[in-house]
């Protein structure tokens, strides 16, 4: 029995899971606060725009978006498998392509800032 190449897809999944656990709840809370008009001074539109305009900011935002998308795609693939949807290769291909497309789109938008 040969060793599996699963780490290729699992490592970014694990990294994305960590990113989601740390960042996504904060982003959700901040989004709600902003929607209700309570924007912390440090997170004003101008400052966030400047952050997204810097190279480091682009890299961080891209990292958070791409890893979260990959992690969600892989999680959904596992969930489909657990629910008995055994066309794993097809499911994996579709979901991973969606994650990669989303990541590429975020890169395109980030580069336009």
């Amino acid at each position: 029995m040969a060793k599996s190449h699963k780490p290729v897809v699992w490592f970014p999944f694990a990294a994305g899971g960590t990113v989601i656990a740390f960042f996504i709840p904060v982003i959700v809370v901040l989004t709600f606060m902003a929607a209700l008009g309570h924007v912390p001074p440090g997170l004003s539109y101008d400052r966030m725009h400047a952050f997204a305009g810097s190279s480091l900011g682009k890299l961080v935002i891209f990292g958070v978006v791409a890893l979260s998308l990959w992690s969600s795609a892989h999680r959904l693939r596992c969930t489909c498998f657990d629910f008995g949807l055994r066309a794993d290769t097809l499911v994996a291909t579709v979901l991973y392509i969606m994650a990669i497309a989303g990541s590429l789109l975020s890169a395109v938008y980030l580069l336009q800032i």
Partner: protein, 251 residues
Amino acid sequence: MTPMKELRVQLEVLRYNPDTDTEAHFQRYELTCPEEWVVLDALNTVKAEIDPTLNYRWSCHMAVCGSCGMMINGTPKLSCHTFLRDYEGTVIRVEPLAHFPIERDLVTAPDDFMEKLKRVKPYIIPKEKKPISEGEYKQTPAQLMKFRQYSMCINCMLCYAACPEYGLTPSFIGPAALTLAHRYNLDSRDGGRKERQEVVATHEGVWECTFVGACSEACPAHVDPASALQQMKITSSIDWIVEHLIPGGNK
């Protein structure tokens, strides 16, 4: 002394006799038991007083031997550790452990688990062999604590009955066997990780696991097999990077 409270207990037990039955069926037993009794006590009373043909495994009656695992209302549990009072007023459905072939009544064949256990080499493979005259292999309390939790497995196979992945893909090495591999990998006296990786790092090893976590919920010894498997995914991934991406790493 206050009189013991008694419970009216209704059991619905799966019966199967390979000599006479073509398929399994349920049989209902009704009895009265003291309220502090467990499901195993009720089964023992059925066998002693109502139906001596009932078959099941048990030994210690104190949740250390791991023999009396059964599906109780669909959940894998040790029947010696499942109190009747928690099911008061209901019919308790008792079935053999899921995902294993039934031999007779509540007795299942554990051969598949035994074979997988052997494959992960669950014993110390010494880093360096030394003669007995040089004394024992010593270990600090801190080194012991690294693997102690994973050494508490009682081989009851509840985790296999709980794992949906094992149910769907029977070739999966499974929670308990992989956790024992991890237990020996973490042992400071052991040098056998590379040999065990030949089983652990395959598709049938840790990579079949999708981290449902049912094994850790079912485990009566609080071993937390799911954590062992996730830790092995990390080390196996680091192995993969070293073997494939670092020049000269594939040695």
